[in-house]
Symmetry: D2
Subunit: 334 residues, 4 copies
């Protein structure tokens, strides 16, 4: 099956290329960014000697001619303009931006007015462990944010056991590749090296995404108090979920049962780390309890499970392939 990537310049675009090169079912026939007119080897010098393809200036009409499915690795507020046209052309879309993740009202509150109100209703949230059946039938999958992916996989199994009305706290830590390729003060080496700090505490836009999906999946409303941090590492994301349980339950058993059939979730016997998942689509989860206090601890590769490899899993499902075909499982360790 022929696929296209629009938004090839950034880190998630590069990761998509890297996965698709070795994918047994997908062939990359089109790669685009906002300027075009260079070879992918100039855009990403590490691909010299690996793949030789021109980068086009993004154009939905061109995609239609050469691909059946497209990955959009575009900034928020940019994707929505492509999606409309692509769906009209009958091209399946996996959108890695936030544009179709939230319900309309929440989107417009936290981002901006939406220009494609029609399709936002039809989009499916691409968290395979919870929405696989819907994804299989969908032409438009909104790939989850990195923080929501790791948080929801940790939190959802326990939502039914958390004391109603109690506060849920998320202390999240991300490698700085999540902040993108664009130069910024926080990503300046001297500023981040030997350093770490929270940012946007209680104000990050992934907070409403988590709250909304908890409500949709579990039909429970909780105040999610989300505090992200930047780590002096490139890849990886570590989540601490803190909550108050109704009872002193067997948390290991609950976690174990929740993902018994999900090969990309690994239940761990000790606290999880970044390196065991870096380079893979795995989400590792560990849980501990102190009387009624709950700690769920998950880790993912923010660029893969938090973006590009999860997008390819979604594409696999949308195209009727095996969920795990061509999905990276071998970590960058050591």
């Amino acid at each position: 099956m022929n696929v296209a990537i629009i938004g090839a310049s950034g880190y998630t675009g590069l990761e998509l290329i890297k996965i698709l090169i070795n994918h047994p079912k997908f062939d990359i026939t089109y790669i685009a960014n906002s300027t075009g007119e260079e070879n992918v080897q100039e855009l990403h010098p590490s691909l010299e000697g690996v793949i030789d393809i021109e980068v086009s200036k993004a154009d939905a009409k061109e995609v239609k001619k050469v691909a059946d499915l497209v990955f959009l690795a575009l900034p928020h507020k940019t994707s929505m303009f492509f999606v409309k046209e692509l769906l009209d052309f009958g091209v399946k879309v996996v959108d890695l931006s936030a544009d179709y993740r939230l319900e309309l009202e929440a989107y417009e509150k936290h981002y901006c007015p939406h220009e494609d109100k029609e399709h936002i209703k039809d989009s499916v949230y691409g968290l395979p462990e919870y929405f696989a059946e819907e994804i299989k039938k969908s032409n438009l999958v909104a790939n989850p944010g990195c923080y929501p992916t790791a948080t929801l996989l940790a939190l959802l199994p326990f939502v039914d056991y958390i004391e109603e009305g109690s506060q849920i706290f998320i202390d999240a830590k991300s490698g700085v590749s999540g902040a993108g390729k664009k130069l910024s003060e926080v990503a300046h080496f001297v500023n981040l090296n030997e350093n770490t700090h929270a940012y946007n505490p209680f104000k990050h836009r992934h907070m409403p995404e988590i709250e909304e999906k908890v409500k949709i999946v579990k039909n429970k409303e909780f105040q999610i108090n989300f505090v992200p941090h930047l780590l002096p590492v490139t890849r990886g994301m570590l989540i601490s979920v803190f909550a108050t349980l109704k009872d002193e339950i067997n948390v290991d058993e609950i976690l174990e049962k929740s993902y018994v059939d999900n090969e990309f979730v690994r239940i761990r016997k000790s606290p999880v780390d970044l390196k065991s998942v870096a380079g893979t689509n795995f989400c590792d989860i560990y849980v501990a309890r102190n009387k009624k206090a709950l700690f769920v601890n998950s880790s993912i590769d923010n660029l893969l499970r938090g973006a590009s490899s999860q997008a390819v899993v979604n594409a696999n499902l949308m195209c009727g392939f095996e969920e795990n075909e061509g999905i990276p499982k071998i970590a960058y360790v050591p």
Copy 2:
């Protein structure tokens, strides 16, 4: 005033030497470790050309002859044997180990049987912002643990406002110098670089220390749920305190008032970081609120405010000097 350091080999011993070299009131007359028989320049090659003094094999009798105050930078369970003898000799002691931090029962539960039950009762907990008056009158100060220092300074101002019976969660992150100079798997560069992970969740021995001091200072009992992490950095510690407030109070005002006279606590308008405090005795604190959810965020240099510079503040107070004499205030930034 002449001072001694016993336990000069480790990182906190080195930091003590570095501070005392430039201290206007203290002179180092004695440095010891468990072996002796080398120059401090061999033990710490960075001190070549800076200080020239023999390292002795630790002996309380020798200390008595040459010093009026001694810093013990020894492992837990080792300090207690020196303290007894030194106090009998009339030497003031600042103990950087855990041996005199807890009440007897708690100590024996979390560490080991105590061999100096007599003095554990008389020791003062060396957190200057809360125990300055007692420290001034004491001959034996138990220097707080690094995690309790940063956590208590963040948490104590808010204890009266936290919903009774609710859970308090601490997500703590430390640079790996806190794990000491001894080789270990967690401190192996390949294991920690580009990585981070929790350790001993809900089981770290600084958890009862925090609970006990909250009770002593505020006369309130809370379950403190403490999860420490290792960061791929050398120095620095970052704390997230998460709690549920009784009411939607003005948290900035409360914090501001709590430390109005304390020059080593800086209230910050944005989330705190490690580099602004590395190399100093400062504790930086930031606070945010989401309805009744509280986030208090503090940072310290784990080797200085979390150990050696706080020890010298305590020594200043015990000797009647100004609290801030010779205490490092200039960060290692950039």
Copy 3:
């Protein structure tokens, strides 16, 4: 074709497993270390959910039953005892240790007495760009050291143009994974982080390996002055070759011609870096000239091109497969 790995505990053993899992021609039938009796997922927790195979206690007789080729990822001075037995059993061997890299006299001078003088004569040096034909016919390939691999690929094209009798200087920089999994002072995070330093200047055992191979390939004798450094990174190796040319030649042209048919050597137009090769078998090379002063600059992944992926290339050649079958080409960038 069935293959075995002896020495599965270390980093190069892990890398061999990771490559062979996805290799289209080789099946891993046997994995061993010095103790055995655990699953590979316990030995390398990142492999949970990826490969499920027992780790045996190393035994050449067992290898014979299940494999036609074996990779030895063992310490120097240990390999030689296995090689003898394995070759007698008719098993092909790729040895990643130093035991068969040097001529007998040089080996015994720089390492220790050799216990398998018979086979040292027959071994082929596994640098495919220069010894491919011999490798194809060999049953025993000595996989080159990491430093010699990167240095020789940079230096050999220019040897004929270097002033006779002049000094050749190599300033080499390696990620610390090259120092192995064993705990050591140099690999202690606190010691290496924010640091770098040379070690064994003019005394490293890869120096005679480079000198010997220059002589064998080019029939020229040069004094190679080799100074390795440790970098605060996990993977990757960067080489500076400095030499004095006889004439002001066109160095770009010489380099370009030297590797025109070698897909795993990439000639770069700007100085090379670690990240573009990390995770791959590529050796990137750049060259510059200042009148008669020559600078050749190469980079490899020390664990892959410097060890495990080069070993699999050698295995491919020994078994008559395509040189590049199953060899990693996609870098860990970003």
Copy 4:
């Protein structure tokens, strides 16, 4: 003595402030950058609670009123405009830019036309170990570049013993703070972390500075072949000097004698590292020889000995103070 700093925004400006706060003889009376109108605590938040002084918009006339000596921490090509005016006002100047380091012809070849040809002749090169007497008498000291400082201190003792006409190679490695506070691709965390690479090989503007000073001090002409690298660390610089000796001399003895009276040069018995000098004005040097091949290895803190602390040493000398007054000697180790 009252001093001013013009160019307070950058890293070297911050380091000047940090040193001068604790200096026993100098008082900072004026701090300026190109915009002014903020407090130094806003410019450098780590200085909150440490120093409280307004940052002015740079104006030479204001300096004249309040200071006897000024440090210029300005970009190249900017300093020269201030110097003229300041010297006319009778203010002593330590210039940290390149504007007065080179002889006119070399400056104009490598930088730009010079606007203050008059004073370039009178400036003294501020490398105290070689120019102390001239510095004492000067009103305008050109503070050396970081690479030339570390290279010249390593190289100069051996120049007389190096084979005439032979090539001298410098492999230099710098922490990225040397690239300044301005955002840049090379200093983007994701690009530099786990990475290293050369830049401007044989083309860096510190190359002619080294060649010129070798000629001035030793009256010898050598081709200096200089290749700098960026390291994934914030502070520190490591130099490898490679050269060919005329004879197999005792290099340790030569080095030892060269700096017998210089307290800020430390001769080391093993290869030098960054951390032992970070935070200090020390230059550590180690030397090794392989027959006629020479390796001299030096390290400095690029922001201190390579800029700000050397500037204060120069100021000490210009004002008749002790060379080492208020100069940092205690490293940031661990």
